[in-house]
């Protein structure tokens, strides 16, 4: 039972963090708070992927050391020696997408503020009617 909890608790923490962001996205009235919730959501996903990359048992960062780099194939690199580089690469892409969505969302918020002079969602909807 304890081993089960140790094997899974970090996924649960990321799910709780993700749900905090989701709650902020769907229930907050201020548009900036919604954008902050979206960022929390995306950060939880990034943490989740990076935790998938981890390998127990002495695995290090996926950068070859000098001794390995000059071996040129004579020394066979063991798969368990380095953590999985693929989730890190995918999350590099996800960070870029996160910055792009954040920028466009803030630009749209600035446009709305210029037009309606408020960032509260209910006041904007009232002004639209």
């Amino acid at each position: 039972m304890l081993e089960f909890i140790i094997g899974k608790y970090n996924f649960w923490i990321y799910i709780i963090l993700m749900m905090i962001g989701f709650y902020a996205m769907i229930s907050k009235n201020n548009l900036i708070k919604k954008i902050i919730g979206m960022n929390i959501f995306q950060t939880a996903i990034i943490l989740f992927y990076v935790s998938i990359a981890y390998k127990r048992g002495g695995a290090t960062l996926p950068i070859l050391t000098d001794a390995d780099a000059h071996a040129h194939g004579e020394h066979i690199i063991n798969m368990a020696q380095y953590i999985n580089p693929l989730p890190h690469v995918l999350m590099l892409t996800a960070i870029v997408v996160m910055v792009a969505t954040l920028g466009v969302a803030l630009a749209i918020a600035i446009m709305l503020y210029r037009k309606y002079h408020t960032l509260e969602e209910d006041e904007i909807i009232k002004a639209l009617k």
Partner: protein, 87 residues
């Protein structure tokens, strides 16, 4: 709030089938990542595996990423530009 709790409960139910944290034989680290780790020095001569995967093995992904950045920048400029008033 209720929607949030229901979604979170479903996601936690989904983690019950996931491999344990730090398991070296989890499916995520068995398919292509051993090849990246073992062949990156021979094929790309780059000591940093993240760089070699990003720029060599998955270069098209990075190309698409620059398209995303370009589109976002262009749409930000289009949204934030103050137009000159006519007349």
């Amino acid at each position: 709030m209720i929607v949030t709790i229901i979604t979170g409960a479903f996601l936690i139910y989904g983690t019950l089938d996931m491999p344990e944290w730090g398991d070296p034989n989890s499916p995520a680290s068995r398919h292509v990542s051993p090849r990246y780790i073992e062949k990156t020095e021979i094929e790309t001569a780059t000591p940093n595996m993240v760089t070699s995967v990003l720029a060599d093995y998955r270069g098209y992904d990075t190309l698409g990423e620059t398209t995303v950045i370009f589109t976002a920048g262009a749409s930000c400029i289009m949204l934030l530009r103050r137009r000159k008033k006519k007349g």
